[in-house]
């Protein structure tokens, strides 16, 4: 899941960076990008919790 989402974000940013992307599309792309960022923030939060648990188990 993580790899897929990062790949999508990469693609969105590449499109936003391109001079061929018009404004309407740019706004839409940015909106999509923000949705992915929110998903990934939740994912990283859960991962941090898992890692903390592992740290505790390994002590």
């Amino acid at each position: 899941m993580l790899k897929e989402k990062i790949k999508q974000l990469d693609k969105i940013i590449a499109s936003l960076d391109s001079p061929d992307t018009d404004l309407d599309k740019a706004f839409k792309l940015h909106e999509d990008g923000q949705k992915i960022v929110k998903e990934l923030e939740k994912y990283f939060q859960k991962t941090e919790q898992k890692l903390s648990k592992l740290d505790e188990e390994n002590k």
Binding site: D10, D17, L23, H30, V37, L51, N58
Partner: protein, 352 residues
């Protein structure tokens, strides 16, 4: 005069016989200990004898060693070697030559066993039997180990105990051997042959506990050393204590100071391995998380920078005509309707 001398003359044989009798009946000369340096060594394989000269700075005497004494010698008599010999002075009547018939001898100073050790070590070293290139690497996680040791000795008990503690999955099979005395060398060699005939054995420990140089001597015998060198399975030599070094140690694929040390070296520590793997996995996950998190932060900040709204906020605008973005003034004519998007809204205009 000549007639008187002839009447009193004895034959050569009679003279030599007389001298022999004198020497044979002399208490001192029938059991004497002499020291000197060996020279002019000659072997007579047919008669199983060695002849040599024993000398000092001023004098010399012939010596002979016969078969039975020869077989008891622990070292090789060689020119230049200083020895102490016990024997008797005798005459070879036929030649009228006297010599020492040696019953026993040993090198001066360091002793027979130590000399034999150094001689064999030098010999096998010259042949390349100790060369590092000959050493076979030990298997990392052996499942079947052979141990050549005394059946009821401390060595096998220690090895089995350590195996149970470190890795119960490793099977240890004892090949009992005589590890001291005259029967030991053949016993060890025979067991090495048996080990190699077994299908699953991956490694063999040749082992005995501590003892004197004499006690450990079997592991300095040439036939044992050659059997270890020729063994097609990796051999760990674990003889005696930390300070004991035997020829087996030099020729084996690995030397362990003691039988316990051998077990610690060859049997993996399962618990330690598992802990190590757990830690490694944990570290790898941490690294992966940090790499991905850094990449995400980078993309997030870049997305922020590329927000089209940021550009409009700085006072820029985007103008469209007929739904298409206007990039050049030449694309419009007076009277055309244009739509301009600003940061906070749109403006409709007509070109003049």
């Amino acid at each position: 005069m000549a007639e008187i001398m002839s009447q009193n003359a004895v034959s050569v044989s009679q003279l030599n016989k007389y001298i022999k009798a004198l020497l044979d009946n002399d208490i001192l000369l029938s059991s004497i200990i002499v020291m000197g340096e060996i020279s002019n060594v000659r072997h007579y394989k047919a008669g199983n004898q060695i002849y040599f000269t024993l000398k000092d700075e001023n004098s010399q005497i012939s010596c002979v060693l016969f078969g039975s004494t020869l077989s008891r010698l622990k070292f090789e008599p060689s020119d230049g070697l200083k020895i102490v010999a016990h024997g008797r002075v005798s005459v070879y009547e036929k030649r009228g030559q006297y010599s020492i018939q040696v019953f026993y001898m040993e090198p001066q100073g360091i002793g027979a066993l130590a000399t034999a050790f150094e001689q064999l070590k030098e010999k096998l070293d010259k042949e390349g039997l100790f060369a590092p290139e000959r050493k076979t690497p030990l298997p990392q996680y052996p499942e079947h180990i052979a141990v050549i040791a005394a059946e009821h000795g401390a060595a096998i008990k220690d090895i089995v105990s350590i195996a149970k503690r470190r890795c119960p999955l490793t099977a240890v099979k004892l090949f009992p051997a005589v590890v001291q005395g005259a029967l030991a060398p053949n016993s060890i060699v025979d067991q090495l042959q048996r080990v190699q005939a077994e299908k699953d054995i991956e490694l063999v420990i040749v082992s005995r506990g501590g003892g004197s140089l004499e006690d450990l001597w079997a592991f300095n015998e040439e036939k044992v050393a050659r059997a270890i060198a020729a063994c097609c399975i990796p051999v760990v030599s674990a003889v005696g204590h930390e300070i004991d070094f035997t020829i087996s140690d030099f020729v084996a694929d690995l030397r362990a100071a003691t039988p316990s040390a051998a077990a610690e070296l060859v049997i993996p520590d399962l618990a330690g391995l598992i802990t190590g793997y757990k830690q490694r996995m944990h570290n790898l996950i941490q690294q992966k998380y940090q790499t991905e998190a850094r990449r995400f932060e980078y993309l997030k900040s870049k997305l922020g920078l590329l927000n089209p709204a940021n550009i409009l906020e700085r006072g820029y605008s985007i103008t469209k005509v007929d739904g298409k973005v206007l990039k050049s003034a030449e694309l419009v004519r007076p009277g055309d309707e244009i739509e301009t998007t600003l940061y906070n809204g749109k403006v409709l205009s007509v070109v003049k």
